[in-house]
């Protein structure tokens, strides 16, 4: 296969969601190994960066996706009249606690924020930024929460380690 690069680029281009290396491998079959795919992806990424156009190849939520550069945002909004996802400060705070402390129980989030978080938490669940990841093995078996893949997609992150670290708190 001599046009691997072109195929990979096209596969990502037509996808609505980030495409993982595994998925690309599945499509390309036995002939191409993951190492080669990773190399090709790196080359494409590099090419777009050098080109400095309106679109870049980004690593998002464990996959690859084309995303626009930040400086063109105003024009895109003008054309598509998109109303972005807006989160209230309370929701952002709650999300931040879940992000850095996951898996976490609701009561622990409330401990940090000092207020009841039922409403905001429900909102985050509805927006699919947070999900229930299981139950804690303590009496009452409370639900524990974590962030979703969608969270990584929305916040332009490759994975959770991509996040800035929380300012250290002295214990």
């Amino acid at each position: 296969m001599d046009n691997v690069k072109a195929i990979v680029e096209a596969l990502i281009f037509v996808s609505d969601l980030p495409v993982s290396i595994d998925k690309i491998k599945e499509v390309l079959g036995e002939e191409v190994d993951k190492k080669e795919i990773a190399e090709v992806l790196a080359t494409i990424k590099q090419e777009y960066e050098v080109r400095r156009g309106g679109v870049f190849l980004k690593e998002i939520a464990g996959g690859y996706q084309f995303r626009t550069g930040e400086d063109v945002a105003p024009w895109i909004k003008k054309m598509k009249a998109i109303k972005p996802l807006t989160l209230s400060p309370a929701a952002m705070e709650t999300l931040a606690v879940v992000v850095y402390r996951q898996p976490i129980m609701k009561s622990d989030i409330e401990q940090v924020r000092g207020v009841d978080v039922s409403g905001v938490l429900r909102g985050l669940l509805e927006k699919n930024l947070v999900r229930m990841v299981g139950r804690k093995d303590v009496p009452g078996r409370p639900i524990i929460y974590g962030t979703t893949r969608k969270f990584l997609e929305v916040f332009n992150l490759r994975d959770l380690t991509d996040l800035p670290s929380l300012k250290e708190i002295e214990e």
Partner: protein, 238 residues
């Protein structure tokens, strides 16, 4: 007329406390409990009088503050070798620092390149993002508004006017007045609106009208510098 504002526009008692600490330029490790408690209770009272649905958590923290205050008033026996000679404020300070760290983290999250706001991808469908309308409070926080309201109330003076007949004010009428003013003047300061008013009822109605208009996204409130004058203008030009 009952007018309720949902509580989720508040970030909670810890946020109020942090706000007061910042406003007074206080060292978080050495909080003057008496001063802070007094100001905290004052704000809680205002929120109560505004009929904001005050959550129990605000009162819990108020109780904690009073408890710490009373503890600090008690003399510490010098001869006793005790384990609990720690500063009664320590627990609270730790909680405040932790909260502050997450508040910062939240701001940092907001600075990321958010999909649909800063960056875009194929197939990004805005439809699924259409959540419930959020109240625009980014420009000026509720505490700043409450603070400005407090100033207006205290400037109204204690001159008790003789009551002849209860003043009949309606919220919609007040809203219309504000809109009329904004249509001619384009931009008004918060004090322009509240300053000239003499009765507390009128101030409260004007304040409620501003909140209602902000909620409906008809007007926006801006502030050039922290604690500076709050300016109000129409959300849409023309």
């Amino acid at each position: 007329m009952a007018y309720e504002i949902k509580l989720d526009i508040f970030e909670g008692p810890l946020d109020l406390l942090l706000y007061l600490i910042k406003k007074n330029e206080i060292d978080i490790y050495d909080i003057p409990i008496a001063l802070i408690t007094e100001q905290y209770l004052e704000h809680v009272e205002i929120m109560k009088s505004l009929n904001l649905d005050l959550a129990g958590e605000y009162l819990v923290l108020a109780a904690t503050l009073l408890h710490i205050k009373s503890k600090m008033l008690l003399p510490v026996p010098e001869d006793e070798e005790s384990d609990d000679d720690e500063d009664p404020r320590e627990m609270l300070v730790r909680q405040l620092l932790e909260y502050q760290a997450f508040k910062e983290a939240a701001l940092n999250l907001d600075k990321m390149s958010v999909l649909g706001r800063d960056v875009f991808s194929r197939g990004y469908s805005p439809k699924e993002e259409e959540g419930e309308e959020e109240i625009p409070i980014r420009e000026v926080g509720i505490f700043e508004l409450v603070e400005a309201f407090r100033n207006a109330v205290s400037e109204a003076g204690n001159e008790e006017l003789m009551e002849i007949d209860a003043e009949k004010i309606s919220l919609s009428e007040t809203i219309n007045q504000i809109m009329d003013e904004l249509n001619t003047k384009k931009m008004l300061s918060f004090t322009d609106l509240l300053g000239g008013l003499e009765s507390k009822t009128r101030i409260i109605y004007t304040f409620l009208a501003i909140l209602e208009l902000m909620k409906m996204r008809v007007i926006r409130a801006y502030q050039a510098v922290s604690y500076g004058p709050i300016r109000i203008c129409l959300a849409v030009g023309e």
